[in-house]
């Protein structure tokens, strides 16, 4: 038995089958209070079929999947390097071309055109709404969180707080909160945009200035608690936020400039363009920032804080900046959500939300704006698809199981993400190669 287990192929087979069993549980039928073990048993012996082709019990189908997958991995282990090299050789010429500036700009312009005509191609109301609520808002959040996690290397688990502040500020400015608005009469949500962005940036500074002195793991837990506290306050301060019942109706934005009169109504397409313009704006600002002195300071702090400090960078100052700047796009996302959905409730701003956004950043690639946008579009399209036509036995809350599993998988197999930022990738491989042999650091993974 022992000698058999020592063979890596056998071990890999067992691991693969174990993973398949977990996937069976993840995709199987749910349990409930009356039958708490229903999910466990029926995940394996419920009759199913592979797209209607081979009717069999679930365990048999997944067993076959496992074998096939094991075959693929076995092939990859022996043949992988050659295949990889061939693919890289084949891609070398087109890849070199994409490095050229005109090509890059052309591709980006093409993508922008696609984004502009998209709502006219896909006219189903569900998808038009999803493009704003599910995709654009999350792209905004993901590129904002990317500034904090990707550029500055700070794990912020309370990012939802900034989104909530943005949304509640909109409600406040437009007079939808029990608190009287700042100005005498309710304002157009357009005025909420600068106010919300300014407020979340201030919130970023206020929260960041004390907490950003902390080490990375402490920061994560403190921000996590902060996100929770914002929800607790929003839920309980009835006199200020409307409590768990949510806000009064938030008006739509409108323009009244002399002859130009336009009101954003119920249809999502005008919102789509309004948000798209801000998405483009934020992407441009953030990528300029990344290449600026500030961006390089963030990289330096992320890679080695002590070294950065010794060349005259004030880490706290730049970290607080990252917090405030990253919060800005979340603040705007909050404005869009609030004014498009009329009402906001504290229950929309939970920890799950922060982690959902984190997954987008991790999947796409920390520090890579293109990657993060791709990650957000991929996952959110999939989420919207699952919402639109859920497969049998799928509950909306199952999504979070998949996202959690995705985070672990990414960290094990591709920590730099789908489109790795070049700087970030070099850092990870450097840290992994350099310290080889230093047992203490290998053990602790201490990169500071």
């Amino acid at each position: 038995m022992r000698t058999l287990l020592a063979k890596t192929a056998v071990r890999r087979l067992l691991i693969t089958l174990g993973v398949m069993a977990v996937i069976e549980l993840m995709t199987g039928p749910p349990g409930n209070n009356a039958q708490p073990l229903y999910g466990f048993t029926h995940s394996f012996d419920e009759p199913a079929s592979f797209f209607g082709l081979f009717p069999a019990e679930r365990w048999a189908i997944f067993f076959v999947f496992g074998l096939v997958f094991w075959g693929i991995t076995s092939f990859w282990i022996t043949q992988g390097p050659t295949v990889k090299k061939r693919v890289q050789d084949a891609l070398a010429v087109p890849r070199a071309k994409t490095q050229k500036r005109p090509v890059r700009i052309g591709v980006l312009a093409g993508l922008l055109v696609v984004a502009i005509i998209l709502p006219h191609v896909e006219t189903a109301p569900f998808w038009q709404a999803a493009m704003v609520e599910q995709i654009e808002v999350y792209v905004l959040l993901a590129i904002g969180l990317n500034v904090v996690v990707g550029f500055a290397g700070l794990l912020d688990l309370g990012y939802v707080a900034f989104y909530a502040i943005g949304a509640y500020t909109t409600a406040w400015v437009t007079g939808a909160l029990p608190t009287p608005p700042i100005f005498d009469h309710a304002l157009n949500p357009f005025f909420a945009i600068p106010v919300a962005i300014a407020l979340v940036m201030v919130a970023g500074i206020v929260l960041g200035a004390p907490t950003l002195r902390l080490r990375g793991d402490y920061l994560a837990i403190v921000t996590l608690g902060f996100g929770e506290i914002i929800t607790i306050f929003a839920n309980n301060l009835y006199g200020i936020t409307g409590g768990s019942l949510g806000t009064k109706q938030i008006p739509h934005p409108s323009i009244h400039l002399g002859p130009i009169k336009y009101v954003w109504g119920i249809t999502p397409v005008p919102y789509y363009y309004l948000t798209l313009s801000f998405v483009v704006l934020f992407i441009i600002v953030f990528s300029l920032l990344e290449r600026s002195r500030i961006g390089r300071a963030w990289t330096a702090i992320r890679e080695d804080e002590v070294a950065a400090e010794s060349v005259g960078i004030n880490p706290l100052k730049y970290k607080v900046m990252a917090f405030a700047i990253g919060a800005a796009s979340a603040g705007f996302a909050g404005v869009v959500t609030a004014s498009q959905l009329f009402y906001i409730f504290p229950s929309s701003f939970t920890l799950q939300f922060s982690i959902n956004v984190l997954v987008l950043v991790i999947l796409g690639g920390m520090g890579s704006i293109a990657g993060v946008v791709l990650g957000a579009i991929l996952i959110q399209t999939l989420t919207a698809f699952l919402l639109h036509s859920p497969p049998a036995g799928y509950q909306p809350s199952d999504l979070y199981i998949y996202l959690g599993a995705l985070l672990v998988t990414m960290m094990i197999f591709r920590p730099a993400g789908l489109i790795p930022s070049r700087r970030r990738k070099r850092e990870i491989t450097l840290s992994e190669d350099l310290h080889e042999g230093h047992l203490d650091e290998v053990l602790t993974g201490d990169d500071t």
Partner: protein, 321 residues
């Protein structure tokens, strides 16, 4: 005397009346926090990282204990006498074992692959958060999203009184289990060969391995020890408050606060920090609304981290307890 003075005076009177009842509840909660905090502190000691998924170890222990109670007690009348004692011991054991199993799997899947290729610290945090998220949502799917009330294996009557405040059976159970667990753990860490190994790795992993300590094994054992206490605490918590898939989040955040309060990496610190936090939190009920109790614990965490990040007893990695 201003308005604040009246407010304070009125609440201090309530505090005087309720003090011992709140104190007893606080000590019980504090012991539970301490038991969870031990898991954070031990893992921090050997790996220098916060095990974000510890809350789910606690949750799995709670569910394991729930199923044991459901099977043996069910809807019937709570047993009394020796069968109560036996059931509690069984629940603690099963909760602990399941906690240890989940902790081991967690270490194998979410930590070891990263450790083997020396990933940056951020990767550990993200992997642990992913694992935690995965585990509690999977539990939510399998067991449903509604809370379960654990069948009581004992009759919850006041056993004795302290200064007129009744001490319920539930609290007595927590005191006894907590006492046994802490003493055993303290002995194991400070006196046995195993504990010496853990302390050696915590002090200096490289040197320890040169002296013949098996690092992989020591880390695995650390997770098992922390998981056992966390799982047992999950069972005890579930006895009193029921089990639900999100039950781990708040107690674990508080236990982490306790670990930091006592000095992370410091075993006795974790226990003392748990007790202080539990009592303080329980007494603060007099002054703030129940909805803001979690805010109080979190405020303590931020204050300690900013003012004295090494905690009350200081970070004492690798020294005797």
């Amino acid at each position: 005397m201003g308005a604040f003075g009246h407010y304070l005076a009125a609440h201090l009177d309530t505090l005087k009346l309720e003090f011992w009842a709140l104190f007893v509840g606080g000590v019980a909660n504090g012991l539970l926090y301490g038991m969870i905090a031990v898991g954070y502190t031990l893992v921090y000691g050997v790996l220098r990282l916060i095990n974000f998924a510890h809350s789910e170890i606690f949750m799995s222990g709670g569910f394991a204990g729930y199923f044991v109670m459901r099977y043996f007690v069910g809807a019937g009348a709570p047993p009394a006498g020796m069968s109560s004692v036996g059931l509690i011991i069984l629940g603690v054991l099963v909760g602990g074992v399941v906690g240890a199993i989940v902790a081991t799997i967690l270490e194998r899947v979410a930590y070891r692959p990263l450790r083997k290729r020396n990933a940056p610290k951020l990767a550990y945090l993200i992997s642990a958060i992913g694992a935690s998220y995965f585990l509690f949502n999977l539990a939510g799917k399998e067991f449903g999203h509604l809370a379960y009330a654990t069948p009581q294996p004992y009759i919850n009557h006041p056993v004795f009184h302290i200064f007129g405040a009744p001490v319920q059976m539930y609290f007595v159970i927590i005191f006894l289990v907590g006492l046994v667990m802490f003493t055993t753990l303290d002995r194991v860490i400070s006196k046995t060969r195993l504990g010496r190994g853990i302390r050696a790795v915590a002090q200096d992993a490289e040197t320890a391995s040169l002296m013949g300590v098996n690092i992989d094994r020591t880390i695995a054992i650390t997770f098992i020890v922390g998981g056992t206490l966390g799982g047992a605490a999950g069972f005890l918590f579930g006895l009193g408050y029921g089990v639900v898939y999100t039950m781990g989040f708040v107690p674990a955040l508080k236990a982490f606060t306790a670990a930091v309060l006592g000095g992370i990496g410091n075993l006795r610190g974790a226990m003392i920090g748990g007790l202080i936090l539990g009592i303080f939190e329980s007494l603060s009920v007099v002054f703030v609304q129940a909805a803001y109790i979690d805010v109080v614990a979190f405020g303590i965490l931020v204050t300690v981290l900013l003012v004295r990040p090494t905690g009350i007893l200081g970070e004492r990695l690798g020294r005797a307890a």
